[in-house]
Symmetry: C2
Subunit: 294 residues, 2 copies
C-alpha cells in the first residue's frame, strides 16, 4: 500500500485531537499554553501516535480510542524534544525547521512547558475514554517505564550526553538507541495493542516489531544527520559528528548501518507475519521508517 | 498531642521508603540516580507524605499503603524544587541548607533529574500496592491535575514568575498560592483519603482542611522569608522582596498575614471537627504548619 495518504490523514486527525486536548492559547496562564502549543504544532510527523493507531488497528481496534492515546504520547514526545533542545543539553536552535521552544519563549518557559506537556500526558492517560481503568493503569506504567531512567528515554539521554567525545562500544550504542528512542516507540506499539485488548501472543509479536522498528528509526536518524542538508532535515545536521555523538554511522559506517536497518525491518515484518491484512499499515510503516528522508 | 515524635518517626519511615523506591546510586546510569537521590535526601521535612499518611490514618487506613503513596508524592515535590531552583527560574544556590542540584551536578543533569523524579512518581503510582486499579487511576489524575498548568503547580510557578516586580492583586496572590503550593498539598490530603476508601462526605471535609492548611503553609513560607536568617531557613532569605515576589506580607503586612494564617487553621479544624480521635494528627499538623520556624 501507499503509506503517504494514511500518514497525511492520520497526522491531520492527531493534530485535530491535540488541538482539543491541549489548553487553549488564551486560557490562563496563557504564556505556558502558548509555549506548549508552539512546540506541539511545530510540524512533527506524528510517528508515535501513528504507531499507536496502526498497532491497535492491526487488531481491529477503534480509531477514536487510539487517537486519544496517541495524542497523549505525542505530548510526552514533545516534552522530551523541548528539554533535549535546551542550552544545557543539546543546545539546538532549530527543531522540525522552526526555532526551538526556548529560542522563542525563553529557557524558563521552555523548561516549564516540557514539564507541563509530560504532566498533561498523564492527565489525559488517567482519563482515557473507552479503556478500562485497569488497562489505563497498565498503559501509564508502560509509558512511565519507557520514559524513565532504567532503559528508558531519560536514561538514554543521560548516557548519550555522557558518551559525547568518547569511544562507544557496540553494546553501549545499542543501549543508548534502545533507551533514548526505542523504548517509547516500542511502548507506542504495545500500548496501542493493550488499549484494544491484545492477547499475550499478539503483544509479544508486536513488541518484537516495535523494538526493531524503533531501532531502525534511530539508525536512520543517525544516517540522515550525516547525509542531509539543514533544509531537508529541519534541524541542524552534522551535529552528531561535531560533538562526537555515539551513532551507527560513526561506529559501523554508512553502508553497514543501512544494511543493519534493512535487516531489522525484515525481521520486524516476520514478527507480524501471522497478522492479517489489517496489519498492512504496520508493514508499510516499517518500510516508511526505513526509507524516510527527513 | 506533641507532634514532634510523630513528625520524626514519619520522616524516618518516608526516608526508608524513598530509599527503596529510588534506583540505587550505583544502578546505571548512575549519574542521574545520584542526582535524584541527592535532592530527595537533602533534608526535607516530608510535609507532603506526612499529610498523606495523617489523612489516610484519620479514616483508619493502613500506614504501609499511605507511606508508599506519600513517598511517590515526595518525588513529585522534589522534581518541582529542582526545576524551580534552576538558573533560568529562581536561580537558587541553596535549598534545605544544601547546594541545589544544578550546583552539584550541573544544569543538564538537574533538568533530567527533575524529569526523572516526576516520571518515577508516576511509575510508583501506577504500581501502588494495596490500592485498586480504579483508585490508582483516580489518584494519578488528582496528582497530575494538582501539578499541571490550570490551577496547578506549574501554572502557579508561571504566574509567580510573570508577577515578579509587578503589583499583584489579592485575587492573583490567592491564585498563585493556591496553584503553586496549595493544589498539591490539598491533593496529598485527598489522595491519602482516596487510597483508604474515603466516603464522599469525608472527602469534602478533608478537601476543605487540605486547601486551608495548604494556604497557611504558603503564607508562613512568605513570612519566614521576611523574618528568618539563612541558617534557620536553609535557603537564602529575603529573596522574595529582592525580586519583588507577590507575597502575603508584601500585600497585607506581617501582622495581618499572621492573623489570616491563624483564622485559616481554625477554619480547617472546624472542617474535620466531626472526625474522631484518629484525626488528632491532622489537627496537630495544622497547628504545626502555622507555628513552624523553618
Amino acid at each position: 500500500m501507499d503509506i503517504q495518504p494514511y500518514l497525511a490523514e492520520s497526522k491531520k486527525l492527531v493534530d485535530q485531537f491535540l488541538e482539543k486536548l491541549l489548553p487553549g492559547e488564551n486560557e490562563e496562564p496563557a504564556a505556558i499554553h502558548r509555549a506548549m502549543r508552539y512546540s506541539v504544532f511545530a510540524g512533527g510527523k506524528r510517528v508515535r501516535p501513528i504507531l499507536v493507531m496502526a498497532s491497535g488497528e492491526s487488531l481491529g481496534g477503534e480509531r477514536m480510542v487510539l487517537l486519544h492515546l496517541g495524542s497523549a504520547v505525542e505530548m510526552m514526545h514533545t516534552y522530551s524534544l523541548i528539554h533535549d533542545d535546551l542550552p544545557a543539553l543539546d543546545n539546538d536552535d532549530l527543531r522540525r525547521g522552526q526555532p526551538t521552544c526556548h529560542k522563542i519563549f525563553g529557557e524558563a518557559m521552555a523548561i516549564l512547558a516540557g514539564d507541563a506537556l509530560m504532566t498533561r500526558c498523564y492527565q489525559v492517560l488517567a482519563a482515557l475514554p473507552g479503556v478500562s481503568e485497569s488497562t489505563r493503569v497498565r498503559i501509564i506504567g508502560e509509558i512511565a517505564n519507557a520514559t524513565g531512567t532504567v532503559r528508558g528515554m531519560i536514561g538514554g539521554q543521560v548516557v548519550d550526553l555522557e558518551s559525547e567525545g568518547k569511544t562507544v562500544s557496540p553494546d553501549l550504542l545499542e543501549y543508548i538507541h534502545h533507551s533514548k528512542t526505542g523504548a517509547l516507540l516500542t511502548a507506542c506499539v504495545r500500548c496501542g495493542a493493550l488499549a484494544v485488548g491484545a492477547t499475550g501472543e499478539e503483544l509479544v509479536a508486536l513488541t518484537g516489531y516495535g523494538s526493531k522498528v524503533g531501532l531502525v528509526f534511530q539508525i536512520v536518524d543517525d544516517i540522515l544527520d550525516v547525509t542531509s542538508s539543514s533544509e531537508e532535515l529541519g534541524k541542524t545536521p552534522g551535529k552528531d559528528a561535531k560533538v562526537k555523538k555515539a551513532t551507527y554511522p560513526a561506529l559501523y559506517g554508512l553502508d553497514a548501518s543501512r544494511t543493519k536497518a534493512r535487516e531489522l525491518v525484515e525481521s520486524a515484518l516476520r514478527d507480524i507475519a501471522e497478522f492479517g491484512q489489517k496489519a498492512d499499515k504496520l508493514r508499510s510503516l516499517a518500510r516508511f521508517v526505513l526509507q524516510r528522508t527527513a
